[in-house]
């Protein structure tokens, strides 16, 4: 469904000049430096797959997505999406993809949700019968009825996200790009969105490329993930392997009481003290070997503690550790 071969995008970042005169000069002269936003990426995604595409901010994720949608023309490389070269057939391809950008809505701010959907029906030329059928389906699975007639500006973030999801899927796109679809949502709304995404992928066979900062989105939804950093593909393989390697690891952040004088590392069985900053220590342990419920009493028995936080593994942390410890691609 998506074929990418040695894709590259070089940006020319010009030195920012201030003022109107500066802007004028910026129009003619081309000072600045080259930045490799995407630096030789290859992968392919089969129809019906749901793939996590993650990486730290500025890693090149959105640049890649923009090239896959045809918004951006690459510097070099080959791309085929649904059999089309995106940047040559942007308008044609646009009818075959749906996109949700969690931070921005594609709905009309001051119109009731249903009217935004009707407008999109015309934008995408969806036949009336097909439109009604899809609407009926989504009304049920996304429970839209409560707010279908509410102006988008009055919707909660979770409701708006559901609305955006319908908007992206009304025209039955075989491909769906999701960018942070759960950002800012509470736990319940998150779970509901994930459920729906799962169903859509399973029942409608939509190919999904999912970009997110929330590792839980990936582990719940995807079998495969790609990790990108500094424009290069760092990892392309099963989510399971990543989860086994890093997902089982948790970190307990410990703030010692001021009266506690510890020089060097904390000694708690089953954990390693990996970092220290003043009275704050980071203890790492594996969930499959010891539970937090066992670590904490052992810790408090030995030291006077002021505060504790349990950290889940984050994408940034995983990327950092892949650099530190290495991880064969195709894991």
């Amino acid at each position: 469904m998506i074929e990418v071969e040695d894709l590259r995008k070089t940006f020319h970042v010009s030195r920012r000049r201030s003022g109107f005169g500066g802007a004028l000069r910026g129009l003619v002269s081309r000072e600045g430096r080259e930045v490799q936003a995407v630096d030789g990426i290859s992968f392919s995604v089969a129809a019906g797959e749901m793939v996590g595409y993650v990486g730290p901010n500025g890693a090149g994720k959105s640049t890649t997505i923009k090239m896959l949608t045809g918004i951006l023309v690459p510097s070099s490389g080959k791309v085929s999406v649904a059999g089309l070269v995106p940047w040559e057939r942007r308008r044609e391809l646009a009818g075959k993809i749906g996109a949700v950008f969690g931070q921005r809505t594609q709905l009309w701010w001051d119109l009731p949700l249903i009217e935004s959907l009707t407008l999109l029906q015309h934008v995408y030329d969806v036949p009336a019968a097909r439109f009604n059928e899809n609407l009926r389906y989504f009304r049920e699975v996304l429970e839209l009825d409560d707010f279908l007639d509410t102006p988008v500006r009055q919707l909660s973030l979770g409701q708006r996200m559901r609305g955006d999801l319908v908007a992206a899927l009304l025209h039955d796109p075989p491909i769906l790009y999701l960018d942070e679809p759960t950002i800012g949502l509470d736990v319940i709304a998150r779970a509901r969105i994930r459920e729906v995404l799962h169903d859509i992928n399973r029942e409608r066979g939509v190919t999904v490329l999912l970009t997110t900062h929330d590792m839980a989105d990936i582990t719940r939804l995807c079998r495969r993930m790609m990790i990108i950093d500094r424009g290069k593909l760092l990892y392309d393989g099963s989510v399971e392997a990543i989860r086994e390697r890093f997902g089982a690891e948790r970190t307990l952040v410990v703030d010692l009481d001021e009266s506690e004088a510890v020089d060097g590392q904390l000694c708690v069985p089953g954990t390693t003290d990996v970092r220290r900053d003043g009275p704050r220590h980071w203890l790492r342990f594996r969930r499959d070997q010891i539970t937090a419920a066992q670590v904490i009493p052992a810790l408090t028995a030995r030291y006077r503690i002021r505060d504790l936080t349990l950290e889940e593994p984050e994408i940034e942390g995983i990327v950092r550790r892949i650099y530190e410890e290495g991880m064969g691609s195709r894991g």
Partner: protein, 263 residues
């Protein structure tokens, strides 16, 4: 006093960062000045003096008018109304300074910025293009600066009232927009008041708007000297005080409304 000086100074420096907007604004002032110069030259035709104003006076009026637009914010100001909309007004009201003084100080800093970086360059553009005569008497310039400061105060007094109406109105833009249009016509910016029919001039000369553009321009052109000059400045001062009292009165009502209804 020190506090308000600091507020004004900060407001001044904040505006210093908008250099691109300043240049674009100067281009607009310059172009409007150009069009309006030829409009008045066209109207004068062969005449050298109309209603006591020479062609030179008319040209000076056009460019001083363009120069005064920004210090007086003739074209609208919604900053205070926006803080009412966003609710930031509550924290401003509870800070340990005089709310009216806080905004006046900010506005003073802004006006100084606009005088230096918008008025002076606009006047220079006009002078380079048309070489109209400027007053040589330093005392007249001093009187003009005093008149300009009073004009900023009057303009602030009216804008404060138009903005504070947002406490009661759903759409905050209405009063400020109405004020903007009234400013354009009644201040003498579009047509000097001495070109108006006498009865209309007599009425408009009594309104605070006359203190915005007409009086400072009268002062710099030497149309008001001696006792007339003193009367003109007193007129501005009177309106400045009256608007300030009105502003504080309405502010008090707004604060009571906030306390009663919690915003």
């Amino acid at each position: 006093m020190r506090l308000y000086y600091e507020i004004a100074r900060r407001s001044f420096s904040r505006h210093l960062t908008y250099r691109a907007a300043t240049l674009a604004g100067l281009a607009t002032n310059g172009f409007f000045g150009l069009v309006r110069t030829y409009l008045f030259l066209g109207f004068y035709g062969e005449e050298s003096t109309v209603s006591g104003w020479s062609q030179q006076d008319a040209l000076a009026f056009v460019w001083f008018g363009q120069a005064l637009l920004m210090p007086l914010l003739i074209f609208g100001w919604y900053e205070l109304a926006l803080t009412i909309r966003s609710g930031d007004v509550i924290s401003d009201l509870s800070k340990p300074f005089d709310y009216y003084g806080f905004w006046l100080a900010r506005d003073a800093g802004r006006a100084v910025y606009h005088t230096l970086f918008r008025s002076v360059p606009t006047l220079l553009i006009g002078l380079i293009l048309f070489q109209f005569a400027l007053a040589a008497d330093p005392l007249r310039w001093l009187a003009f600066l005093g008149s300009l400061a009073l004009a900023v105060w009057i303009s602030f007094g009216m804008r404060f009232l138009a903005n504070i109406a947002a406490f009661w109105l759903l759409d905050y833009r209405g009063p400020a927009m109405a004020l903007m249009f009234a400013n354009g016509l009644l201040s003498g910016l579009l047509v000097p008041l001495n070109f108006w029919p006498e009865w209309a001039e007599a009425v408009v000369r009594m309104l605070p708007f006359a203190g915005l553009v007409q009086i400072p321009v009268d002062v710099i052109l030497g149309k008001a000297t001696g006792a007339e000059l003193a009367a003109a400045l007193l007129f501005q001062l009177g309106w400045g005080v009256a608007l300030m009292l009105a502003g504080r009165l309405v502010l008090g009502m707004a604060v009571r409304k906030v306390i009663v209804q919690g915003g």
